[in-house]
Subunit: 338 residues, 2 copies
DNA sequence: CTGAAAGCGCTTACAG
DNA sequence: CTGAAAGCGCTTACAG
């Protein structure tokens, strides 16, 4: 790369100190500098195509104006949509985003967080992975500003922004029951991550309230690593029970997408023979022949709030902000029984 | 944030110079340092939880081990999948990725590139936007290492990795014609971006070769800003011609996704009454009742090659590498006419 | 009003 | 073999 022009180059050319150049270009103590000199400095900066070296500035000011973002997988629609919202919100405040994918893997998460901290990010937005409470505690001990997003640890006092996942699943099941469904299956992940746990709790509780306590055979938990295949098996099992389910709640966008691909190969018809609801949606649930009824994730609020809370936390205050956003049920064609 | 421990802190505690600490922790000139001291330094570093300040190191070494990635929109499946591949490839080489979305907007692109350069990224991977040739020339003049991805400027001598989009569209049309289709529409973007231009050229040329020269009314170009609505209009028009088309080629994943949502509301049946091919696919084209025939983008090769070429370009050589990857036709159910 | 000087936390050529 | 010293490119408290 070509040698870049520095403050020193400008200072030499104009015949002043680098300090003065810095003051002028940063519009500081403007009053004290003669208009003439100031103009000359500005002109020379443009002429030499000067660009601030943010690395040098950061070293001095101890601020990088960089946010570290840790998502499960940037290739997943949920993560990438959130990333885009955070990018926009950060950009408004002159922040840039460094990102990384944890793959729901605690080791990767730890490595990633360390890399981001080495790079002196001013703070972190994290969708925390299973078994990473200790990593979060570390951040607290080091007083690193951070906000958890989508998931959190219920017994830890941290900033977070998430949807109320209990309510989400509860609303989904209520909708299915009100639609006349009697046997409602759940396809979810086998994990202790809080958002998923809450979704299961919402499902079980809702069924109980309607006096249709969930049968064990209605709940299928698939592994994150082998989800596609296990979703297929889960569907096969739920539909081949002696009393097959008449509806299925999928606890995530990823799961319902796999399901739809499989359902397209089966004779069963949605919604006539099977009702479907998904928590979190994507284009893939919209292009299905019976666009899915879903629980809308408030991604815009989630991303914007998380960024705002993080920036506040960076700039000063020590107060903890915890936000549980309301889920919203959006009725599609996958639950309108004939 | 808590005060972090620096080399100085370790040096003081051990009673040596910061230079020595630096040598030990970086495993440099190991031979010359007594094992005892080295061990003590290492132990103290762990004890004090030392972490390298990459900002300080970068200022000194003039390397940040950061790649700047400029995509059209990180929320789009094409961009986010590519981002994930680049992230993984970068990580293998201890690089981290700063990203930003240009929204197909030349001004945003310029601002973004400048922000990334201010942050001293070692190089850039860019999916360049319409009318940004001058920005690319700037990079060349400043000898900034960069690789264009997905799109490029055919008359500029730059690194790039892209699919051969001419061949892609040509293969798609050939497939449709061989399947017995006579009137093949094209829904594409109104833009001068090279990849899209090439797709149109491939479409037109293929039709000519089969002596079915494209009628003007078969080609619908939608604006990027208002794509969803204009895709609907385009489909309406193509299907209501006095001689309606019997097949449509969509020149991007975004366009076909909008199309599928709309087609689900229409009586026309795929593939019996209408064949469809899309260039670039996603989950959304797979969950459609007739999973689409598509031209596969070689995203893995694209992302990995782009990263490799960039890293080589950063580390030394000045040779220009230009890669046109082969498209691959994947036959789905949207073109198997009865 | 103006600018020299110190210092952010590192790395490394160089002197002893 | 060892470590002091210089310097990366900035910012800003401080002295004049």
């Amino acid at each position: 790369m070509k040698k870049k022009t520095s403050l020193k180059d400008i200072a030499q050319k104009v015949g002043v100190s680098t300090a003065l150049v810095s003051y002028v270009l940063n519009n500081k103590k403007e009053g004290r500098i003669s208009k003439q000199i100031a103009e000359k400095i500005r002109a020379t900066a443009i002429e030499l195509n000067y660009k601030t070296n943010q690395i040098a500035r950061s070293l001095k000011t101890n601020k990088t104006y960089t946010i570290g973002l840790v998502v499960a997988d940037i290739a997943n629609a949920f993560s990438s949509t959130l990333a885009r919202i955070i990018e926009d919100e950060a950009e408004k405040n002159n922040y840039t985003v460094l990102f990384g994918s944890s793959d729901e893997n605690a080791q990767k998460s730890e490595k990633l967080i360390n890399v981001l901290l080495d790079r002196q990010v001013d703070g972190l937005i994290i969708a925390p992975v299973e078994d990473t409470a200790s990593q979060i505690v570390q951040l607290q001990e080091n007083e690193v500003p951070f906000v958890l997003i989508d998931r959190y640890f219920p017994d830890m006092k941290t900033n977070y922004v998430a949807m109320d996942n209990y309510k989400a699943a509860h609303a989904a099941v209520s909708h299915l029951i009100n639609g006349g469904n009697k046997r409602i299956g759940l396809v979810t992940f086998k994990t202790t991550i809080f958002n998923i746990v809450e979704r299961k709790r919402g499902y079980v509780t809702a069924l109980k309230e309607y006096k249709t306590s969930a049968k064990r055979s209605w709940i299928r938990e698939v592994s994150i690593q082998n989800a596609q295949e296990e979703v297929r098996e889960a569907i096969d099992q739920l539909l081949s029970l002696s009393e097959p389910v008449d509806a299925i709640l999928f606890s995530s966008n990823l799961l319902s997408t796999y399901a739809l691909k499989y359902l397209n190969t089966l004779p069963v018809k949605v919604p006539d023979q099977l009702n479907i609801v998904t928590i979190d949606q994507s284009d893939a649930s919209d292009t299905f022949y019976a666009p899915l009824t879903y629980i809308r994730q408030p991604l815009l609020e989630m991303g914007q709030l998380a960024t705002k809370i993080l920036l506040e936390s960076i700039s000063k205050n020590n107060k903890i902000t915890q936000v549980n956003l309301e889920p919203e049920l959006v009725v599609g064609k996958s639950t309108s029984k004939v």
